[in-house]
Amino acid sequence: MDLVSLQGWLDNASFAVLFLTMLVYWGGAAFPGVPYLASLGTAGMAIANLMIAALLSARWIEAGYFPLSNLYESLFFIAWGVTTMHLVAEQMSRSRLVGAFTAPVAMGITAFAALSLPAQMQASEPLVPALKSNWLMMHVSVMLLSYAALMVGAVLAIAFLIVTRGQSVELRGSSVGTGGFRDSRYRLRRTNELGVETPQPALQYLADGTGATTILAAPPQTAQPLPLSPQRLNLADTLDNISYRMIGLGFPLLTIGIIAGAVWANEAWGSYWSWDPKETWALITWLVFAAYLHARITKGWQGRRPAILAASGFLVVWICYLGVNLLGKGLHSYGWFF
């Protein structure tokens, strides 16, 4: 089979699939009552993921080395990463709202790579001597996967900010673990010792299409005294926690990617850190997300502020990934417009 024409078909088709998937997710968010939209969205993401994987494999076979030599290939790799991380986040949260935010990101990346990059930049190119190393695969793929995880985490933080606009919220996941305790509004007052039951409406959490929503309901068939029942996470809690977990996944990947790059640099030309703009921006990204992780455990920084930091991290990741290459300096200037 002709690998080149297969690639040309796959890149446009994955863009088309992602575009439709995005519409499906948006439709699902707008009309939660329509059945099958959620599974259709997940299926679309999975198909796009496999198509991009096939595209990259075809290039790998054709060129004979791991396909991360130019902007086009790295864009498709990151799009593959975003769809993978989307599937992870969706599996974790079981919320169809995730796709409404991640699908446009994946769609945008493939649109840029497949439609707006000129043909000569899409062609696979021989590697320059500096990149001929097994470290290339290790360093670049881990970096791109970390960008993908951080982007998904950051767009989920944006989703959280949209869902909680105008509310004050308390965060429920952090390394110190303040989120395991009952919200004071829902604390059950029980006076068992005196033999008097305070009639409190029991809390039941019913599910609707978009996620768990708190409603106050009369206790079901259970008899008095009122039972202790779990206080479930609501949609905002879920989005926040999944955003935190995705960033928590991207952060170790970023750390390992930067270290792999540093070790490679030291092995190849004797300096593990040289403040090259790309390197510096990777450090800046690391610092911003480190600040986010610490903000979550800080008193007085609770609520929406860490999410704002995470959302701004989306921009930082993009500057790190593409913006720095506009400067066109250093070893990281892979196939930009210069």
Partner: protein
């Protein structure tokens, strides 16, 4: 974190006063998370300035690009840049001070926050009262269910169980509490290794023609204690330097065949280096970094081989060219210019008027002004980056620990309590990171415990 514990005895001396100051004022300030976040963001911000403003350029460059009238953003003139050191941000005293403060904050945080948190995670308690479960968000009471039924379910989910009478405590993922401590420790190791390396290491560059022997002389950056690292009792001989070209004429790889010679000129080590494959000898590493054309070997008629040095020509940034001039008359009144652009073996001959007269390959000859000029060989020189960094082992240890511990820090520390009180079983739990996954896990355990699903959003096991 502020001074809450009054000491009974008055400070007796300066030493005590100093100790009190550190414990009561300095440590809480350093361990304040808001300071840590501010430091992280400040380092990020100043790092950005270094990627926007060109680093390490000449004074004239800054004068031309950051004039006083009009000043960029109304203040950013070359004087401001030089005064603040923004032309070499990462080496200014204030940026290094920021890094040291960051290290101090890391250390303080480890002792005042992380160790106590780990300790409290390890010294758990059984819940002996039903009301203790009320503070947990994920807690419930079940009837007609026994503690014995819960144990295998938690065991299956890889919890570590502790039992005391009617009370049960289960936990997993305690590595998630240890991870951040090691993360901080490895960051400190990396910082320490970097400082040690910058004090004791050196950095040199040499451009050596093939066939010559050199000692490391051209050192352009060395730490104050670097003298012991700079080799004096051995030298390096460049046996050969060559370039592999792709069929399209692009550079595929550079190679240098190097021999390390001891004081008597005896070979003690030999290796062919290329980009990504350096030579290491006694803590000094030599990297293939650059190349140039050193000279050309020619023959005039039947003369012996004459080696002429070639100089790099100024092309105004349009590629690299080297040239030399070969006299063709004994009084040097006539000659040809020989120009080479790479080591592929082709040279161009120009006459004194600057017109191209011939193109020659290595081993070929041409008639010039009645003389037969033979190109024997184009001699390349290898550009070596030479470095010693005694801080590397410390930095690498820090890297290794950081990679492991940052992954450990992803793990969520989950704890579950249960208490059998009469015919009721109280179950509650919490986790520090993965709230959503833990909720699903605990509810699935509860669902499995009870015949009827606990809630309508029951998750399938």
């Amino acid at each position: 974190m502020t001074s809450e514990t009054p000491t009974s005895s008055k400070p007796t001396g300066l030493h005590d006063l100093f100790q009190r100051y550190i414990q009561r004022e300095l440590l809480p300030l350093l361990a304040d998370l808001r300071l840590a976040i501010a430091l992280l963001l400040a380092i990020a911000l100043f790092s950005i300035s270094g990627t926007v403003i060109e680093q390490g350029q000449t004074l004239a460059f800054y004068q031309a690009n950051y004039p006083e009238h009009p000043a960029l953003f109304g203040f950013l003139t070359w004087k401001v840049i030089l005064w603040l050191g923004l032309d070499h941000v990462y080496r200014t005293w204030w940026f290094l001070a920021l890094l040291i403060l960051f290290g101090a904050s890391l250390t303080a945080c480890t002792f005042t926050r992380q160790f106590p948190t780990l300790k409290s995670a390890q010294t758990w308690k059984f819940y002996q009262q039903p009301r203790q479960f009320e503070k947990l968000a994920l807690s419930t009471e079940l009837e007609r269910v026994s503690l014995e039924a819960l144990e295998p379910l938690l065991h299956q989910k890889r919890y570590k169980l502790f039992r005391e009478g009617n009370a049960l405590y289960a936990r997993k993922g305690i590595v998630g509490r240890i991870g951040p401590i090691i993360v901080h420790a490895s960051m400190l190791l990396i910082l320490a290794g970097a400082i040690w390396g910058s004090m004791t290491g050196f950095f040199a560059q040499e451009m050596v023609p093939a066939g010559q022997t050199f000692q490391i002389k051209n050192i352009f950056d060395a730490g104050p204690w670097a003298a012991a690292q700079i080799p004096k009792d051995w030298s390096v001989h460049v046996n050969r330097f060559w370039i592999d070209y792709t069929p399209e004429g692009g550079i595929n790889q550079f190679y240098s065949d190097l021999s390390v010679l001891d004081q008597d000129g005896k070979e003690v080590d030999r290796k062919t280096i290329y980009v990504n494959e350096p030579l290491r000898y006694k803590g000094v590493t030599m990297y293939q970094a650059d190349w140039a054309i050193a000279g050309i070997k020619v023959k005039l008629n039947n003369s012996p081989v004459i080696a002429l040095p070639m100089g790099e020509l100024d092309t105004g940034g349009k590629g690299r060219l080297w040239g030399t001039w070969v006299p063709t008359k004994p009084d040097l009144s006539e000659g040809v210019s020989v120009i080479a652009k790479d080591l592929q073996g082709t040279v161009l001959l120009y006459d004194n008027q600057g017109t191209l007269i011939n193109t020659l390959r290595e081993g070929m000859s041409a008639e010039v002004n009645g003389i037969r000029l033979t190109i024997v060989e184009i001699v390349g020189s290898t550009g070596l980056q030479i470095k010693a960094d005694p801080g590397i082992p410390i930095v690498y240890l820090g890297f290794a620990l950081l990679m492991v511990s940052v992954m450990m820090s992803y793990v969520s520390h989950s704890q579950i309590w249960a208490l059998q009180a009469g015919d009721k079983l109280y179950v509650g739990g919490r986790t520090n990171r993965a709230q959503v996954a833990f909720e699903r896990e605990l509810l699935s355990v509860l669902d499995a415990l009870t015949a009827e699903p606990l809630s309508m959003t029951s998750t399938k096991p």
